[in-house]
């Protein structure tokens, strides 16, 4: 059998992730693609714990644990600092969760993107504040239960369209990826690595403890979500050129995906139908962008 990803590991055992953690797979694959010449800026998020407590680290690359809302601009600062001390090669990565990206970190991220600072921003998205015990973020999808959107008052607003927001900044590269498609993820990181300017990578990362799903279903969820077009895999170059990476002949029904997650268990038929409608609409919009009829 031929390996489709490099064997070299920059993430070691001994980390503190939960079983079936998608965020951990995301880090492992991204580091495989970037290699050792990397500096990470990690704000408050699951990964600020997963890496391990002081004085330990489970990664073979340097990490700056930065303030919650500063991932993007901390990376800009690191990049500028490294350049001024003569290191122009290191890829500086802001590595944040969805709360640190969609919510509290969006101002700094917007500033970095507008300036087109030379960093790779990775958002691993587990669709809520998981490190603090599953509170809703603006990345939480419609219908989901969280501890702050209880079943009786589940989240009644759609997930923020982060790709559209980033596209509006006209940055050189935006991509979505899923830990269920490691080769696609790997390819995108490789591509992003060689681009200058702000690159934004949005990785779908299931969270069994927050989603009330089985750890062994992480990969299944991370593939289904692409196949049912809830989280399609695509790229946007300079805010304009859309490319669909995983083509879908026929969208899988969303129910297969929803029913294996406890966070959606309360949804009634009509709510599921509403979600399906929204997915279809968004998918059509994406296809229109891909086909250039924006």
């Amino acid at each position: 059998m031929r390996l489709s990803l490099p064997e070299e590991e920059l993430m070691n055992s001994g980390h503190m992730a939960c079983q079936g953690c998608g965020a951990t797979l995301a880090m492992r694959y991204v580091l495989k693609a970037l290699g050792q010449k990397v500096a990470l800026c990690i704000p408050a998020c699951c990964w600020s714990v997963i890496d391990g407590p002081f004085p330990y680290s489970s990664l073979d690359v340097p990490i700056y644990h930065c303030a919650f809302e500063t991932a993007a601009v901390s990376a800009s600062g690191v990049k500028a600092g490294l350049e001024m001390v003569g290191d122009t090669e290191t890829t500086v990565v802001a590595w944040a969760g969805d709360g640190g990206t969609f919510d509290i970190g969006i101002q700094a991220l917007s500033g970095v993107a507008e300036r087109n600072d030379d960093i790779l921003y990775v958002c691993y998205d587990n669709e809520a504040y998981m490190n603090t015990g599953t509170q809703r973020s603006s990345a939480t999808p419609y219908g989901a239960w969280t501890t702050t959107t209880p079943v009786k008052h589940f989240k009644n607003r759609p997930k923020k369209d982060m790709e559209a927001i980033m596209a509006a900044h006209r940055i050189p590269y935006i991509a979505t990826a899923s830990v269920g498609y490691p080769e696609d993820l790997f390819k995108k990181v490789k591509k992003a690595k060689d681009i200058q300017g702000t690159r934004f990578l949005h990785i779908y990362a299931p969270c069994p403890s927050g989603w009330k799903s089985r750890p062994e279903d992480t990969i299944k969820l991370a593939r289904l979500v692409v196949q049912n077009a809830i989280f399609p895999l695509y790229e946007i170059e300079w805010g304009e050129k859309y490319t669909l990476n995983i083509k879908i002949k026929e969208k899988k029904p969303i129910n297969d995906y929803l029913r294996i997650q406890g966070r959606f268990r309360h949804l009634k038929k009509e709510e599921v139908a509403f979600i399906q409608e929204e997915v279809d609409k968004k998918w059509e919009r994406l296809l229109a962008n891909v086909n250039g009829n924006q």
Binding site: F54, S57, A67, S74, L82, V85, Q107
Partner: protein, 379 residues
């Protein structure tokens, strides 16, 4: 103007990364430094951020990467940075920042008082308060040296308008001599893939306590280092910075304790009072953090009365310099009466007559009858 002196200090100190956001009355700093970076007078990267919070965040990242970093702000901007001020000192990142003292809103004020910077006194930054533009420039250069030696960030503070926008003749030292005084920043450990470390990760009760103990222990070394660095600077440039400035304190019956530009005004007030036969003196405190307890105690020990003049207030307590001066003599004092005055908030003028008024009040009282005496409040 003071803002240009600040910028020249940052330039002569060879700042490598600057990240700043405009705010009145600091704007000439970002403007001049932008010019200097654009025409390569200064070989630095200027990150034009979207907020003060991001300004400090960028400085911290750059400092961790081993670059000398500078920023400047004022009032609301400084308050917005608050979280990251702790991050700078806790992370032992020796950023140097100019802060133009401006009153906090609401109501909107662009005029001077010290509540912005003094509200940040517990964030682990060294705080220098300046009284003239020469001192601003000289302090920035020395602040880099002190900060980088002990890995503690520094704030160089100047009054809005009375310094920031006031033109004075300033001697600009030669770059070569400054380079000799201030060698490049070379921290032992930096953020680099060549020697990977994790900085600032989850720190259990097993380790956190000692990290803070070490910060305090190093903070306790600052005063002596400022003196030593000041003497080195004096040897090369002929000007001594020091911790305090004494004006006729040796034989004074009444000593004013002041800071910032009102420290210069107080000297004029003292001279006038002396002409009238009142033996007044002025002790201007240049370094508020760490607070120079021993120095202050020694200077005031011969006085009969002390009047601490604060351009700030800790609501529900007193003026903040007053608090510190009282704590400096507590347990040592042979009972010198120490009076606390609050004046000049929100840029209300402080003039020599302010000190005449204070002197008159103090002379009429044997000892303080209240903790705050307000000077200049309209009835």
């Amino acid at each position: 103007m003071g803002n240009h002196a600040l910028s020249y200090g940052a330039m002569l100190g060879r700042s490598q990364v600057i990240a700043a956001y405009p705010i009145t009355p600091q704007t000439q700093v970002v403007e001049l430094l932008s010019e200097m970076c654009a025409d390569k007078t200064l070989d630095a990267m200027f990150i034009k951020v979207e907020s003060e919070h991001s300004a400090m965040a960028a400085c911290l990242g750059a400092s961790l990467s081993g670059a000398r970093t500078f920023t400047a702000t004022s009032a609301q901007g400084l308050a917005l940075m608050h979280e990251l001020l702790h991050w700078a000192s806790g992370g032992r990142l020796p950023v140097v920042m100019g802060n133009i003292n401006r009153a906090m809103a609401p109501g909107w004020s662009i005029w001077s008082d010290q509540n912005d910077s003094l509200s940040q006194r517990d964030t682990g930054w060294i705080q220098f308060y300046c009284a003239n533009n020469q001192e601003v420039l000289d302090t920035v250069i020395q602040a880099f040296k002190v900060s980088e030696k002990l890995l503690i960030p520094s704030m160089v503070i100047l009054d809005a308008f009375t310094l920031s926008h006031t033109y004075e003749v300033v001697d600009i030292p030669e770059q070569e001599k400054v380079d000799e005084f201030l060698p490049p920043f070379k921290p032992e450990i930096t953020l680099t893939p060549d020697d990977p470390h994790a900085f600032g990760g989850l720190t259990s009760p097993e380790h956190y306590f000692e990290l803070r103990y070490k910060l305090q222990k190093d903070m306790e070394k600052v005063e002596a280092l400022i003196e030593k660095t000041g003497r080195e600077y004096e040897k090369m440039f002929g000007r001594y910075l020091g911790i305090v400035e004494e004006h006729l304190c040796d034989d004074a019956d009444l000593i004013f304790i002041t800071s910032g530009t009102m420290g210069s005004t107080a000297k004029v007030g003292v001279d006038e009072l002396r002409k009238e036969g009142i033996k007044a003196g002025n002790l201007r405190i240049k370094v508020f953090r760490p607070f120079p307890f021993d120095v202050v105690r020694n200077v005031i020990k011969g006085a009969r009365k002390v009047a601490v003049v604060d351009r700030n207030i800790s609501y529900g307590h007193h003026g903040m310099f007053f608090q510190e001066v009282k704590s400096a003599v507590f347990g040592h004092s042979d009972g010198i009466p120490i009076f606390g005055f609050i004046t000049g908030l929100g840029g209300r003028d402080i003039t020599p007559s302010t000190f005449r008024e204070i002197a008159q009040y103090v002379r009429e009282k044997e000892k303080p009858e209240e903790n705050i005496v307000w000077i200049g409040v309209k009835k």
